[in-house]
Amino acid sequence: MTVREPAVLRLRAASLSFGRRTLWSHLDLDVSPGEFVAVLGANGSGKTSLIRAILGLQSLTGGTVEVAGRPVRRGSEEIGYVPQQRRADPLTPMRARDFVAQGLTGHRWGTGLPSAARRRSVTAALAAVGAAEYGDLPIGLLSGGEQQRVRIAQALVTDPSVLLCDEPLLSLDLPSQRTVTALVDRRRREHRSAVLFVTHEINPVLPYVDRVLYLAGGRFRIGEVDEVLTSATLSELFEAPIEVIRVGGRILVAGTPDTPEQAHHDHHHEAAR
């Protein structure tokens, strides 16, 4: 293990509860520049809430979050955010480059005036994700994979030191998934952005992941893939028999309470408490 640079994203004893339900507590996490951390866990385990807490949109029940050495605040330019892929309406009155420009100045009041400097930043961001050729097309007419590239360009246009990705591969086809993960990986290698990548599926990001944060039932495990994604660790975390199988470079996890049937059961269980 190499010596880590000072963390650019730092959580200390972070806890989040809604009423009596604890999503996670006493979470300590340091993410170094250029590090790729995958966040795994069942639906409702608090992955998206963790992202929202780092964005300053969700206050913690306890503990602190710091980005680039400062407490988080809403709208920080140090953070780039790539949300779940959601198709833009076909009639959205915006070209791909306008969409990217929102990342720079979309939060400012007024109508905005054309700016050569902004235009250059947007063009560079589009080129960096290989979206230059459709930069002038309406965002709503691009394919899902193309739209997600444009979203990444938007997230990177402020040159953030932390990149938060919340299930960015959802509903993308396999080639687009590969493209998106490769773009995120290139960003952290070339610009040393720290990456927190929420996903329910480890395999698409497996080649790039440095560490895994696995959230489950109010508890969590942090570590390298080989430490966390094992039958022993996950069985202990879920307090249930979990089988982790490695097949041809892929990891298959069987028995996590993530199936609809099990979720239904959990629901009843929770209601009974």
Partner: protein
């Protein structure tokens, strides 16, 4: 068209010059409304609010009818009704599903109240149907002043919130992450929309507000995706429909303004849709190799 008298009821341009002088104010009012409605319809489309516009206009109608019955000002009544409706819809319906059900509940109630007030009202009959289907009844100068004042407030408001409101309308999650006050903007927008609808109800009538507060931008979005051209075209379309409708209406002594406005508005929409379809077939989405020459101002 066997009966020429029907055609004459719709179009009769004798005495046109003298009529034109009488409706000077109305034409100005139409143009002013066109500008505001064209601008705001861009956001109505982006935020998927056409149904909300319809709901607000029915409540605005109820307010106007109520004030008319009570001997108050129709202008204030229309404003009260539409602001209350806009705030209720904005506060209770942040999600599209909730919003539509709330509007579906409010709208018939508003319409029913309005009909009740009108049936109890024994004043001039022209006022009655005017609120529902529009009226050209010469707009007097104080009323025009109120209209222009409202238009200035709405336009200034929209210009101030333009960029963050676009961001929040298209991509609320990322906008919130970038520090845009998404909820606040939603409330501000509903207030501006309420003001616009109250203006529109007095001219085109409650039933036909959508033809100036939705159709223009819906048409513009069929032919361009430029964030500058959409509002510009939308305003041009709305002003054309309003002023054109007013000028045509002068030729009729029995038909109210609304059919003329809605027909022009709809014709523009059809033309834009047709053009958009042809353009898509020819490959609007064709990928071009990027180069500095292909660039347009951001």
């Amino acid at each position: 068209m066997s009966d020429p008298s029907i055609w004459q009821q719709i179009f009769d341009f004798s005495d046109y010059g003298s009529l034109l002088a009488l409706v000077h104010n109305t034409i100005i009012a139409g143009a002013v409304l066109g500008v505001v409605a064209g601008l705001i319809s861009t956001f109505v489309m982006m935020r998927d609010l056409p149904f909300a516009v319809h709901g607000i206009s029915e409540l605005s109608f109820a307010g106007a009818a109520g004030f008319l019955l009570a001997g108050g000002s129709v202008v204030i009544g229309a404003l009260t009704g539409s602001l209350v409706a806009a705030l209720v819809i904005g506060a209770l319906g942040s999600r599209a599903r909730d919003r539509n059900s709330i509007i579906g509940v409010l709208m018939p109630f508003g319409l029913g109240l309005g009909v009740l007030f009108l049936s109890l009202y024994h004043g001039r009959a022209a006022n009655k149907f005017g609120l529902l289907t529009g009226q050209i009844a010469a707009i007097d100068t104080p009323r025009l002043a109120a209209l222009i004042g409202t238009a200035i407030v709405v336009t200034a408001g929209l210009v101030i919130v333009w960029r963050p409101l676009s961001f929040a309308s298209i991509d609320p999650e990322v906008a919130a992450a970038r520090g845009v006050p998404v909820r606040l903007l939603s409330t501000v927008f509903m207030l501006l929309l309420g003001l616009t609808v109250a203006m529109s109800v007095q001219i085109v009538g409650a039933l036909l507000v959508l033809s100036v507060v939705c159709t223009p931008a819906a048409a513009a979005m069929r032919v361009t995706a430029s964030r500058v051209l959409v509002p510009v075209l939308s305003v041009a379309f709305a002003v054309t429909a309003m002023v054109g409708g007013t000028l045509l209406e002068l030729g009729s002594y029995s038909v109210p303004i609304s059919p003329y406005v809605t027909t022009i508005s709809f014709a523009i929409y059809l033309a834009c849709r047709g053009y958009g379809t042809v353009r898509s077939r020819r490959g609007w989405t064709a990928r071009r190799p990027a180069g500095p020459a292909a660039a347009a101002p951001a």
